[in-house]
Symmetry: C2
Subunit: 200 residues, 2 copies
């Protein structure tokens, strides 16, 4: 990846992991990959997801615990004519934040840790609460029938693409076009462009 797009700041990476609702889990089944989306939660340096005990992903993980986990927040599509005045298609792109975690998956067996992870997942996806805490004994049976998996990262790469490689002139043309187009993600995209340009 181009150095200019690379994000190394842990707080920035964690902020994305704590905001995005799902990631795509990739596994290897012998020489064949298998990709499936899962809701997830971060606790410290680790990432957790859950599922039914008999899921295909649980069966594959039992044979090969290596995982690659991809988390994306996609922003505005940048039309080619936003930055080019020559009418070429090549500058067309999409801005995004993306995190790739390579690591090893470990099935969590301890009841209290499973409850802690599921509680954290609830707090992420349903921050307003309104449910009996997962530590309650009412969940004994549910906890037993739910698999909770921990991803221990061996590497985390983050790529945030917001035009950091562009000349000032092209950069400003994109901002002007996004302001004019004013579609749902466009304002947020301008904000990110400015934030990551300033960070250089």
């Amino acid at each position: 990846m181009k150095k200019v797009f690379e994000i190394k700041d842990k707080r920035t990476i964690n902020a994305l992991l704590d905001t995005v609702e799902y990631g795509t889990l990739a596994l290897s089944n012998q020489d064949k990959p298998y990709a499936v989306p899962v809701n997830f939660v971060r606790l410290g340096e680790l990432v957790y997801f859950h599922g039914a005990l008999s899921n295909k992903k649980m069966k594959l993980l039992a044979k090969n615990p290596n995982v690659s986990f991809s988390v994306v927040n996609s922003y505005a599509v940048i039309d080619s004519f936003f930055s080019s005045t020559e009418g070429l298609a090549c500058p067309a792109t999409q801005f995004f934040k993306s995190i790739s975690i390579d690591g090893v998956a470990k099935v969590i067996e301890a009841r209290d840790m499973k409850a802690k992870v599921l509680e954290a997942l609830m707090q992420k996806l349903q921050p307003k609460g309104g449910y009996t805490p997962l530590s309650d004994s009412v969940y004994e049976k549910a906890l037993k029938s739910t698999a909770v998996v921990e991803i221990v990262p061996s590497s985390i790469r983050a790529k945030y693409k917001f035009g950091q490689n562009l000349t000032q002139e092209r950069f400003e043309r994109i901002v002007t076009h996004l302001e004019e187009r004013n579609e749902p993600k466009d304002n947020e995209t301008i904000e990110m462009m400015k934030a990551y340009k300033d960070a250089l």
Copy 2:
């Protein structure tokens, strides 16, 4: 996957592939998976993406052409108390459309086919046009330095989860809560819940 969530209609599947801007490509590098997001376009039964010739994904594909490609459109998070009156966390979920394509990747060498794929990608992501068509000779050099990859699917699985498995009572409670919450994706989610309930 539960039968009630499974989508078999080709037009429904194609409509999602033609709307969602990116998918997550999973490859196998020996016994290690590798996941990376890519913009893509469907042409007929095939899916295409492009990238720099020297990308990590191109190097891995040269060694092992097996791919798993995951496309997701995520909808509303469904709070646990939307459907449960017992205060349990378990019913918390997120509704979504997801497609998983397993297949084999093939690098496209023919100049005209590469141009055709990139033109289709432009039409998908920049439907208003405003660029010189990819068939133009101005793109000779750009076409040579761009890798275009075709995914030939061996299986396509589609799972659309919109509460099709719920009792009428729980289903209606969720609709009422979504109407009340009225966050960005909530109305679209209600629309999908009704569409896929009726399709049963």
